[in-house]
Every structure is written in structure tokens, then in C-alpha cells.
């Protein structure tokens, strides 16, 4: 196999090391990725991505979620172009704010109102603040190990975080209603909210969808406790179900937090909520300089309509299943044990007995050289731009990965 060119990426990393602490921040730092993964990207179209050295890959990360219709989707780009030609960040919102809020409250059965922000963390934080305002209570229950953003109250790191930032956080275990009961008992009459992820998607372990009983049980426990059920749909939103990820279980949260796929890559997040929390939402002070920016809202409106038009979740599920079936067949062919988990639209493949991810990393590195960008330990993402030929091209690259693993 030809050596993958990486000289432009290497040169940029040298420059970045001087002006960006650690070369890159957070989840996007390529130091956390398998060998050979590029740090810098030059171009993106549909489900194809080119790094700064011109290496092309079929992309199975979709920018870690935001790209749900494929890069540079014509309907989204046209909506953005039209809005930008009029106005973007003005002294107040454009009419598109109202249209988008109407679209969301129309498509999401649990949503009577919306607020818009820029980060997923803005949305989860606003949900907590509104729940506290509405209940007059302080405690917030989180599933141990779950990711709800990078603010001090929920960051996966404690560096620079004080004990008081977490003073009112109580943990429960995902999928375990008894642990929720115990956490509620600990909160006493001071429980403002229970945060739940759309499904368990903690890094570096198998993904777990909730059962219907669990989701409904959590709703019932919140109702008994008078606490808000906050569904963190930042990562899964608009990929699993266009009515909200727990609609399939018949569960309607008090609040949902949205971001990532909401505007096909444009910076936007949202809180949607039920009627009973409207007054609390109006009393909380939440704002930002770019939160009324109109082009991201135009992008969102176009994205959501397109997802409805093509039934995005079904399209992505079908392609995710095709990918998963192909990966399974290859794994069997090469005699390598793997476990698939998660919804097909956001799949994860772990190698059996691979606690140190040596096999997962080797698989990814080899597949990358052969033209597909997979992730060894974080859920991946499909988009509606992934067609059968793209999946098959990805599987061709995956075969190189399995071959590498079979030789270890």
C-alpha cells in the first residue's frame, strides 16, 4: 500500500504546537486518535473528506455529529446564502427565528417552546438552570460516566474545577432505576432535575440503548419526585427519531437539549421544553452575542425539513445496517471477534478482548490508509449522504483494517 502523505499536516502541527496549547484542544486533538490520523482538514463534500495532504476518506465521524445531510448540502447552503445576503448577526433576530421555533415545536411532541444557543453545553446548562428556577430546588442527577458538556458542572475532567461546581450533582447508574431511586432519596426534597442521555454513549465502552421500561420508569420517578426529566439529545438528536430520541419509547421529557446535527454543521444549539416550564424559561437570564444569528437558523430550518423529506433516520439506519453487516462479514472472514453496539445510525464496533484498544487502533490506522475514517472507541455517525456505494467503499477500506488486525 502506498505511504499516506502527511507532510502538510506535520508542518501545520509544528506551527500549531507554538500557538495552540497542546497543539489542539479537547476531543479534536489528534493525539487521542490512532496513529496516522490527520489533525487538519482541507475539504469536505457529502460523506467524503480530504485532509490537508489531499488524502481522501469516506467519513464515518461526520465531524463528530454535526454533519447529518453530508457536507455542503445544497439545500442548506442555499438557505444560508439567501439569509446571509440579507443579514446574519443583527440588532435582533430575523423572522427565521420564529419559523425555526415553529418547525421544532411542530415536529417535537414534547416541545412547546424553544431557546437557541451556540454549544451543546449551553443547552444542557440552560436546561439545568431553568429546572432549578422552576422547582426552586438545587440537586441534579447525572448518570455516572455520561457526557453532558465541557462546563465545570459536567466536564469529564476535574482540572480547574472546584468541589462547589459539583456540589449539587448526584450520580446514578444508567439503566438502573434502583440507583435512580437511591439518588432521589439522597436529594430528598431538593431534586430539580434528572439528566438522561438519549442512549448510553460513554467513551470506550459498548453503547447501550435504554429499554422502554427504563425510559418510562425514569419518567415516572421524575413525576413522583416533582423533578424535571431533561433529555440530552445533543449527540443523538435528529438521527434516531425526528420527534425526539425517546418518542419511540413513549416518553416525553420536560426539556430536551439539542445541538450537533441541528443545522448540518452550522453552530447552533437549542433547548426545547414543555409548557409548564415556560415561565421559568422566561425568568432565567440566558444570552449570547451570536445567539440570534440568522444564518445558522436558516441552516437549521433547511436541515430539519430535508431530514423530514427524506426520512433521515430511516436512511441512516439502513446504511448503518449495511455497514454493520459488512463489517461482521469481514470480521468473520478474517477470524476476528468484534461486538457491534448502539443504534445503526451511530454505530460502534469494538474488538473483543481489546481493553487497550491495540486492535481497534490498528484497524483504524490501516482502514484510514485504505480510505475510510473510522473511530476505535467513540460512537461513529452516519449521514444521509452515505449511499450504498460509499458504505461499500468504506467496507473495502475496512478489509485492510481487518487484515492488519488478523496479523497481530
Amino acid at each position: 500500500m502506498a505511504e499516506r502523505l502527511n507532510s502538510a499536516d506535520a508542518a501545520l502541527r509544528v506551527r500549531a504546537a507554538k500557538v495552540i496549547p497542546g497543539g489542539m484542544w479537547g476531543h479534536l486533538n489528534a493525539a487521542n486518535l490512532p496513529d496516522g490520523y490527520p489533525q487538519f482538514f482541507a475539504r469536505a463534500r457529502g460523506c467524503r473528506l480530504w485532509d490537508v495532504d489531499g488524502n481522501e476518506v469516506v467519513d464515518f465521524m461526520c465531524s463528530w455529529g454535526p454533519i447529518v445531510l453530508g457536507h455542503h448540502h445544497p439545500a442548506v447552503e442555499e438557505a444560508v446564502r439567501a439569509q446571509a445576503a440579507q443579514g446574519a448577526t443583527m440588532n435582533g433576530p430575523g423572522a427565521v427565528l420564529v419559523e425555526l421555533a415553529e418547525q421544532l415545536t411542530g415536529m417535537l411532541p414534547a416541545a412547546d417552546w424553544c431557546l437557541f444557543e451556540k454549544n451543546g453545553t449551553d443547552a444542557t446548562t440552560a436546561c439545568v438552570t431553568i429546572a432549578r428556577a422552576g422547582t426552586g430546588r438545587r440537586k441534579v442527577l447525572l448518570a455516572r460516566g455520561s457526557y453532558h458538556g465541557a462546563a465545570p458542572w459536567c466536564s469529564p475532567s476535574l482540572v480547574g474545577v472546584t468541589a462547589e461546581d459539583r456540589a449539587h450533582i448526584i450520580h446514578y447508574d444508567h439503566g438502573d432505576l434502583d440507583s435512580v431511586r437511591a439518588a432521589l432519596a439522597e436529594a430528598g426534597d431538593d431534586c430539580a432535575a434528572v439528566l438522561a442521555s438519549a442512549f448510553r454513549h460513554d467513551m470506550a465502552r459498548a453503547l447501550e440503548l435504554p429499554t422502554r421500561d427504563y425510559a418510562q420508569g425514569l419518567r415516572a420517578l421524575c413525576d413522583q419526585a416533582g423533578a424535571a426529566l431533561i433529555l440530552d439529545d445533543v449527540r443523538a438528536g435528529f438521527r434516531l427519531h425526528l420527534g425526539g430520541s425517546w418518542e419511540a419509547y413513549g416518553v416525553r421529557p420536560d426539556f430536551s437539549a439539542w445541538s450537533k446535527a441541528i443545522a448540518n454543521g452550522y453552530a447552533l444549539s437549542a433547548v426545547t421544553g414543555a409548557e409548564k416550564w415556560r415561565d421559568a424559561a422566561a425568568r432565567v437570564f440566558t444570552t449570547g452575542s451570536f445567539w440570534a444569528e440568522a444564518t445558522s437558523m436558516a441552516a437549521s430550518l433547511a436541515t430539519l425539513r430535508e431530514l423530514q423529506r427524506v426520512d433521515g433516520p430511516a436512511v441512516m439506519a439502513a446504511m448503518g445496517e449495511r455497514l454493520r453487516a459488512g463489517l461482521s462479514a469481514l470480521a468473520a472472514q478474517y477470524g476476528v471477534g468484534v461486538t457491534h453496539s448502539g443504534p445503526a445510525q451511530m454505530p460502534l464496533m469494538l474488538f473483543d478482548g481489546d481493553a487497550d484498544f491495540r486492535r481497534g487502533n490498528a484497524f483504524c490506522s490501516a482502514a484510514l490508509r485504505a480510505g475510510a475514517y473510522f473511530h476505535p472507541k467513540h460512537n461513529m455517525f452516519l449521514s444521509t449522504a452515505h449511499g450504498p456505494a460509499d458504505i461499500d467503499r468504506g467496507l473495502e477500506a475496512a478489509e485492510a483494517g481487518f487484515r492488519a488486525v488478523s496479523r497481530m
Copy 2:
């Protein structure tokens, strides 16, 4: 004077009331503005703004700061278009991340490294977190009444905020080094950082620039205490001085927080910091789904270069002085007492003896009808798109405002 048309705005407000709590959030809620101010905007070009009813105004708010070169600046729009044609939100940053970080560290003498985020609040919060990580201390000193964002630790509202969110905040009084000394004494050996605004710009009171002695004294007190000096340049950044707002006083902060004008309306914020904090910045976990988005960085690079090319702060200062001189002349002509405060690029005009802002509101409402968008109690913003003819058109509208006040 012809009645100002507002039927489209009124119709949108009715719809918004159903889907947005309180009709609009935060500082952009028109309920907090003088009578007749529109909530929704349709179009923006240069320093002109059109509401959804087609009413045109000369804009002296510049979208509350972000618009620094005027709306839809050709160099910025072209940079965004070129970057968007390649890629925006990808699996990692584009090369433009490095170029922008090099631009910032090159132009800001206090900056050895950068991090990029989306909100001003992201930037101030990251500064605090990094200071805590770097010092192993917890206390943060804020000037009483200062605005540093909308997160629970610093929000101007306590609704939904817990006591623990503020557990390590100690207040001092802007401009009063003795009060800083007292706050440092209270913090003991636990002071991580002192936050300072570029100048005192608290809502509804005269703006106050720091003295050189005060700025240098604050720097010396931080050095003695081993605490970081964080300059919140979110609002003033790139309007007062292209090297950082305290460069004029010979004071270099440990960190600066930037947003608003950094990308001429595109959603971006940044932290810049000194070498000694680089390691702490690399250890803190701070990230967001859109923080590597490339078009906002391309917009920023174009914006900063254009500000350097035209000496933006000088252009805005000259036009701000022209505005101020004209307002003073009109005030004298109509026998109305006013007080100007703040830097000319971010001016505020308060009516004497107008604690309830009746005169300020009446002035603004009448001026708006006559074609200029002023603010009665928040600092206003100039852009480099404001030319002499625009200022004079604004003054013509202001005359209607003074006339209205003189009849009260």
C-alpha cells in the same frame, strides 16, 4: 412625521410569544428597549439596518458589538465564501486555525497562545478554569456589577443559580485598588485570578475608563498575590487598541477573553494567554462541537487584517468624536443637559437627572422614528463602516430625539 410601520414586527411578536419564552431571550428582548423599537430585523448592510417592516436606520449598536467593519463587509464575506466552498465543520480544524492563532499572537503582545470557542462566556469561563488549574487555587475576584457572561458563576441574574455557583467569587470595586487589596486579603492564599473589564461598562450608568495607575496597580497586585490577571476584552476588544485594550496603559494581562468584534458577526470567541499558562491551558478540558469550524476563523482572519489595514480603532474613534460633538451641540441647542462617557468608539450619552431613563427612552424612540438606532443605557458601538455622512444622518435623527426631550 410619518407613522413608523410595524405591522410585520407585531405579527412576528405574536407568533414568537407562542414559541419563545417571553417572546425573546436576554439582552435582545425588545421589551427592554424604548417604545417602538423593533424586535425583528430583515436586512443589514454597512452601518444601515432594516427591520422587518422595511424601516431603515443608521445603526449605532452594531449588533451589540460584533459588527466592527459594517455588515456584510466584502473582504470578510469573500473569506467566508472561499472557506465554505472547501469545508466548514470537519473532523478537525482547517489550516486557518493556525493562521488565525498566528495572527492573534502576532498582533497581541500579551498573547503567546490561543484557544477558540463560540461565546464570550466560553472564553471568560475558560480563563477562570485555566487560572485555577495553573495556580491550584480557587478564588476569583470580580468587580461588583461587571458583566462577564451569562454562566451561573457570573450571570447578572440569580434566577436558577445556586449559592455554590458563586462560592469562590469575591467582589471588589472597579477603580479602587484598596478594595482589590481587601478582596485579595479575603482570598488569602487561595486567589486564582482577578477579572477586569477593559473599562467599566456596567449597564445604566456612566462608562469609566481605567486610569493608567489603576491598570498598572491591578497588574502589580496580581503579581504580588501570584494570581492571574484576566482582561475581559469581549466587549471592547479590537475597538480600542489592536494590541489589546490595556496595551495603551502598558499593562499585559495573563489571559484575555475575546469575542464580539473578533469576526465581524460570525460566531467566535477566543482566549489568549501568556507563556507561563500554556501548560495549564493544555491540561484543562475545554471543547465544543463547533469550536474548530473554519468559516468563522476565516472571517476573523479577514476582519483582523482589515482592522489593521485601515487602523480601525482610529477610524471608529474619529467618527465617535464626530457623533459626540454633534450630540453635544444639539443638546446645547435644545437646552438639554447630557453627559457623554466611555471611549468614542463605544459611546454612551446619558441625560442629566434621568434616573428612570424617561428622557433617554423618549430621545431614542423619537430618533428611531427619524432613522437612527441609539441605546439609552448600554454603551453603543461604532464600526469602520460609519462615515461622516452616516454620522451626520444619525445626528439629523438625533435632533428629533432632542426635540422630543425638550418638550417633556
